[in-house]
Point group: C2
Chain length 251, copies 2
């Protein structure tokens, strides 16, 4: 399912959307952007951030071409241009993109200026690691609450955050403005936890347990299945014939 975002210019597309006259909110127009594109936009922003910090990798005049940026990110230049065109972002033909302006546009479109407090449910090995994962706060996702059911864990600090009883989820999530819930519990508890998070008002969930989660339609769920990733790698091994077939099971 694809989606939407801010835009200023009318880009290509089968049916060109009429320029929205009276924008509802403050100043942002909406168009649909493929999710795959959104994922890459964050990569572009990340690289531009790094360039901005290092102050290098772009030319003296502060511009960068689609070829250069695409090379840094590792994608096809045409894809990058099409991605950026969804934002109506204007580069300069014959020159490239103004790095600072592009960075600002991306930040705006991705909401990178905002902060999205996160709650992690399940303070086992994985949950603890996520609580301490530096990449989350670094990209605007501070972990502000930890939940568990284990009385031995509740009340104790993990990665600087006191573990709360899952039964207080509604209270704590409201207090901490939690926007995203992460489920790092064993599989059997995952659905129950999802229900609790939804009841607590969380409408975005990242789950690490395999198996489906049933949630209301207005709740967005993403799943990361770590074992599945290994399985897909293993499948390539099989296909290569690398793994010595131990037993020959032939029907």
């Amino acid at each position: 399912m694809s989606t939407i975002v801010a835009d200023g210019a009318t880009a290509g597309g089968p049916a060109r959307l009429p320029p929205i006259g009276a924008a509802p909110g403050p100043g942002l127009r909406l168009r649909t952007i493929p999710e795959a594109t959104v994922a890459r936009l964050t990569a572009y922003l990340r690289v531009l951030d790094r360039c901005a910090m290092v102050g290098a990798e772009l030319r003296g005049d502060g511009t960068i071409s689609s070829d250069e940026l695409a090379g840094l990110v590792g994608v096809n230049p045409a894809k990058l241009r099409k991605d950026l065109s969804y934002l109506g972002s204007h580069g300069t033909r014959g020159v490239g993109y103004d790095a600072a302006a592009l960075r600002s546009t991306l930040q705006q479109a991705l909401g990178a200026h905002e902060t999205y407090p996160v709650a992690v449910v399940g303070v086992g090995h994985l949950g603890s690691a996520l609580a301490a994962y530096p990449g989350f706060p670094a990209r605007g996702f501070p972990v502000r609450a930890l939940f568990d059911t284990d009385p031995l864990k509740i009340g104790r600090p993990v990665a600087g955050i006191t573990v709360s009883d899952i039964r207080e989820a509604a209270l704590v999530c409201r207090r901490e403005d939690v926007v995203i819930g992460v489920i790092a519990t064993p599989e059997p508890a995952a659905q129950r936890v999802a229900d609790v998070l939804v009841a607590a008002g969380v409408r975005s969930i990242l789950g690490f347990a395999p198996g489906q989660l049933t949630v209301p339609a207005d709740v967005e769920v993403r799943r990361v299945d770590l074992a599945l990733e290994l399985q897909l790698l293993a499948f390539h091994e099989i296909r290569r014939g690398d793994v010595a077939a131990p037993r020959q099971a032939v029907p």
Copy 2:
């Protein structure tokens, strides 16, 4: 010489499945199977495993219909049938699939009877959690080696495995028959670690660091970008307008 760049996106990657002629096992026809299908096949197998253990959820005669199985997994029945058709798996029209036979077919196709030893590089919070993650050995991926560069960690046991010096990667990987390498280091070290793993003979890599990894063409890389998952969830929040309106912008 030819190198390939690991493509970033979580879902979007073009499943390149070259119709390599290396005839695999006899009897099993491994044509090109879409990667998305492979992912779902593992889900089907997982559900069938659970049914087999519980002994329930399937009818007295040991059959299960595409509607039933699809319902349990949470996918479209037509999709399930098409997925299974890639395996040439024969159900019985008017009846359904023999659960035991289907399970066996899936195990065979996915190599689920095999074991794929894993090495985790980077014994920080995340690496330690992965070393202890029960889902890995449960699905045939025992973690057999841990690597780090920190002298304080080397030689000490984590999750029952002694941490080795990364400089001994080649030796240890060969000794432990490591097939898959997992990179759980901070971002700056990721590329170096990938090089080391490749030199050690590992041809399947799962990376948790954002940013691209450059590896030889015969090495398969998958990436899990945890912060990106949150970013995509956040994007949906923005689209919904849930998050307090981003401050006015747009020149």
